[in-house]
């Protein structure tokens, strides 16, 4: 099968890859580019742990072909922190104990980041609805909601 040469921005830096059409974006990110913050859980579009930002929208990278990211902008958890330190969303998850085993956390962070860009001052109900594509098997979600609320406050003050 003819491979496709693709290039896209990953966390602000240009990357290139040679991919089969059937290669999923999550595989390109983890195995080809070797950024393993983005996880694979169900691989059947249900759990959301593979969530990344593609052209400013949260998507499940196990259900997008790598060729479809060609020319696009991708953000993963590795792109959140800066030289100055953790992103407000990450800091809030630390402070509010928004994680236990941590498996779902990278996707929770990337999703929370995008959600708060779209809705900077959400109600609790809106947070629950906005985060509903991400499953967590440990926390019971309570502290994740608190972390998103706290991050929203921090980002508004910033």
């Amino acid at each position: 099968m003819a491979k496709h040469h693709i290039s896209f921005n990953l966390n602000g830096k240009p990357v290139e890859a040679l991919v089969e059409p059937r290669e999923l974006l999550v595989h390109t990110i983890r195995e080809n580019i070797q950024l393993t913050g983005t996880h694979i859980g169900c691989e059947t579009s249900h759990c959301g742990v593979c969530t990344v930002d593609l052209n400013g929208k949260s998507v499940k990278s196990c259900t997008v072909l790598a060729v479809q990211a060609d020319g696009g902008d991708v953000l993963t958890v590795e792109g959140l922190a800066t030289a100055e330190g953790l992103h407000a969303v990450q800091q809030a998850f630390v402070e509010e104990h928004g994680l236990q085993c941590g498996f779902c956390t990278p996707a929770m962070l990337v999703r929370a980041y995008r959600f708060l860009q779209d809705n900077p001052d959400p109600s609790e109900d809106e947070i629950r609805w906005g985060m509903s594509g991400n499953l967590c098997r440990c926390t019971g979600y309570q502290n994740i909601i608190k972390a998103v609320q706290s991050a929203a406050k921090k980002l508004q003050q910033a």
């Binding site: 059937r22 479809q68 594509g133």
Partner: protein
């Protein structure tokens, strides 16, 4: 989990996509990919050729002309939800889209893919029946119009040929004497319906002059509860009449028993969704 091998082509126009559908054996259109790619990963589908229709401008956008709303087939669920035209003139579609899947899926999944895919659990087909929508379909010989009524023939079986593309959906703007209801029972956020019912009701004074009741996931494909509709049409609707209609709904259902429940349970839940949707629709049409 990985799909079988396939060739990938990004279509530049509807004509280009149709040509590839004709020339490439067993080629399939790739819209949002949120039904097709999971099926391909599980090897329930192994198309050797995918035609990506995400970059075709004529398949995008929502506009209002006169009292007709045209929705491009590649409009995503989240675009439906955000559309001011739909919020104002077709709120049923907005409420239905809000209950499809989850935020990430709604960023990719399209109304066209949801209509054509053919899973009885898809929510838009019954909504299309309730809205009396019209589909604009294009094939090698040009465009044709196809009413939603009569489009859904069975599971993975619709009134569309293999070399045709659903281009757009047309619905009428809701009038002042109309009201909608939408209820969908699901086990958890993001799940397909146990049963769902979109209802569109028109009042003439106190009487119901027209009503369309769609049903999701209680038959091999989306259906209308025609007997129940006939019972309500021309009448002043009260709770006794709604009860009678609910009995007709149960009789119309033939759901498959699965993890979401027994056939009997699902039929009764469908009736309950209809009761609630009719009540909401009545209230909205009156106010």
């Amino acid at each position: 989990m990985i799909t079988s091998q396939f060739q990938y082509h990004k279509a530049s126009s509807i004509e280009d996509a149709i040509q590839k559908l004709q020339n490439e054996e067993d080629a399939k259109l790739l819209a949002g990919g949120h039904s097709l790619l999971p099926m391909m990963k599980l090897r329930f589908a192994e198309p050797p050729y995918l035609i990506d229709i995400n970059d075709i401008p004529e398949l995008q956008g929502i506009d209002l002309q006169g009292d007709t709303i045209r929705i491009g087939a590649m409009t995503t669920e989240n675009e439906l939800i955000a559309s001011e035209i739909l919020q104002q003139h077709c709120p049923l579609l907005v409420e239905a889209a809000k209950l499809v899947a989850d935020p990430q899926v709604r960023n990719r999944g399209t109304i066209g893919g949801d209509i054509v895919h053919g899973d009885p659990g898809n929510d838009h087909p019954a909504v299309m029946l309730a809205l009396d929508a019209n589909f604009i379909i294009q094939g090698p010989d040009g465009k044709r119009e196809q009413p939603a009524n009569g489009f859904f023939l069975g599971t993975y079986w619709n009134e569309i040929a293999e070399d045709e593309i659903l281009v757009a959906i047309e619905v009428k703007a809701q009038k002042d004497n109309q009201g909608f209801g939408y209820h969908k029972l699901k086990r958890k956020t993001g799940d397909y319906a146990v049963a769902g019912s979109p209802v569109m009701l028109t009042l003439d004074g106190d009487k119901c002059s027209d009503i369309r009741i769609g049903l999701t996931n209680v038959a091999p494909m989306a259906i209308r509860a025609t007997e129940a509709e006939n019972l309500l049409k021309g009448q002043e609707i009260d709770s006794a009449l709604i009860e009678k209609a609910a009995e007709q709904v149960i009789a119309a259902c033939e759901p498959a028993e699965d993890l979401r429940g027994s056939s009997e349970y699902k039929s009764h839940m469908a009736a309950e969704m209809v009761r609630r949707s009719i009540q909401d629709a009545l209230q909205r049409a009156r106010s």
